[in-house]
Symmetry: C2
Subunit: 152 residues, 2 copies
DNA sequence: ACGTTATAGTTACATATGAAACCACTTGCA
DNA sequence: TGCAAGTGGTTTCATATGTAACTATAACGT
C-alpha cells in the first residue's frame, strides 16, 4: 500500500539501493579507521587484518591466515612480506612440512597491536553510539542473517 | 551484565567486529551483482553507477555525476571515457560553459540499462528475502542513522 | 580590459589488486 | 621406490585506483 511500484527496469535510485548503501557505509567506516593507523604506522588495512588474526591465533600458516581474513593468498603473501620486513611478524618454517610457514607477532608487533586494537575498538564504539540498544541488537541479528550464506 | 569485557587491547575478533563484517558483506553483495553484469556487458561497477545516475538525471555534467555517485572526478572521467567509447553515453558541451559536459544515455545505453537495472533489483530482492518484514524496517532505519553523518 | 583565482575535466605517475604461472615440497599410489 | 597430482607460498603481469599536476575555460575584483 505505501510502497511505490517502480517497474523493474525504471532507473535505480542508488541512494535507496541496499547494495550501494552498504558499500558507501562500509567504505566510509573502514577508511576512517584505516586512515588512522596508516598515518601512525604505515600499515594497510590488509596488513592490519593479518596482524589481528595473528594476535588471536599464534602460529598460523599463511593459508590459514588467508582463510580467517577472507583474503586471497596473494594478498596475504604480500602483507606478510611487508610485516616481516617491518619486524612486526615472525616467520619460521614448519617442522615436518617445509612448505608451510609458522607465523606470529613479534614483540614489536604486539606493541603495534596494543595501539591499533583499541583504536579500532574506539571507532566501532563511535559508530554504535549512533544507535540505541534495540537497534544494536537488531543490527547484529540482521548481519547474522545476511551473512548466513553470502560469503560464497 | 551479559557482555564480556575484553580489555581494550585484547586481540580483535574480526568476525564480530562491525566494520569488518560490513566490509565482508558489502563486498560479497556488490561483487555478486557486478560479476553478473560484467560477464554480460564488460561493465565495471563504477561504470554501471554512472549509467544508473544518468538514467535518472539526464544532462548532468561529469562533476554532478561524481557528486551523485560519491565517486571522485578521476574515476568518473575514466568511466565516461569508456562509456562514450562503447556508445552507451552521449557527451556534448554545455552552451555557455565550454568546460562543462552534458551527459546522457544513448539508445544503446538505455538498452543496457533495461537489462542491468532489473538484474540489480533482483539481487537486492534476494538479499532482502533473507529478512522478515520487521527486520527490513529496522535495517533501513539503522542504515539511515549510521549514514547520517558518516559520509564525511 | 586584465590579471588573479576558481572550476571542469584529463593526463601522468605511482601504488594496489587479482589471475595465472611458477617453484618447492608432500602426498598418494602403482 | 618413483612419479603423477596436490598444496603452500611467491612472482609476474595486466588492470584498477588514488593523488597530484596540468589544460582549458570562466568568474571575480580592480
Amino acid at each position: 500500500m505505501p510502497e511505490e511500484h517502480h517497474p523493474d527496469h525504471a532507473p535505480l535510485e542508488l541512494e535507496r539501493f541496499l547494495p550501494y548503501r552498504l558499500s558507501i557505509l562500509s567504505n566510509a567506516v573502514s577508511q576512517a579507521i584505516a586512515d588512522d593507523y596508516q598515518r601512525r604506522f604505515d600499515l594497510s588495512m590488509t596488513e592490519w587484518r593479518v596482524m589481528a588474526v595473528l594476535a588471536r591465533f599464534d602460529g598460523l600458516s599463511a593459508r590459514e591466515v588467508a582463510e580467517r581474513t577472507l583474503m586471497d593468498k596473494v594478498a596475504v603473501s604480500r602483507a606478510l612480506a611487508k610485516l616481516v620486513e617491518a619486524g612486526w611478524v615472525t616467520r619460521a618454517t614448519h617442522d615436518g612440512d617445509k612448505r608451510r610457514s609458522v607465523l606470529g607477532l613479534s614483540e614489536a608487533g604486539w606493541a603495534v597491536h596494543e595501539v591499533v586494537a583499541p583504536m579500532a575498538r574506539q571507532h566501532e564504539r563511535n559508530l554504535l553510539a549512533r544507535l540505541d540498544e534495540e537497534e544494536r541488537t537488531w543490527l547484529v541479528r540482521i548481519l547474522d542473517k545476511l551473512q548466513a550464506m553470502e560469503p560464497k
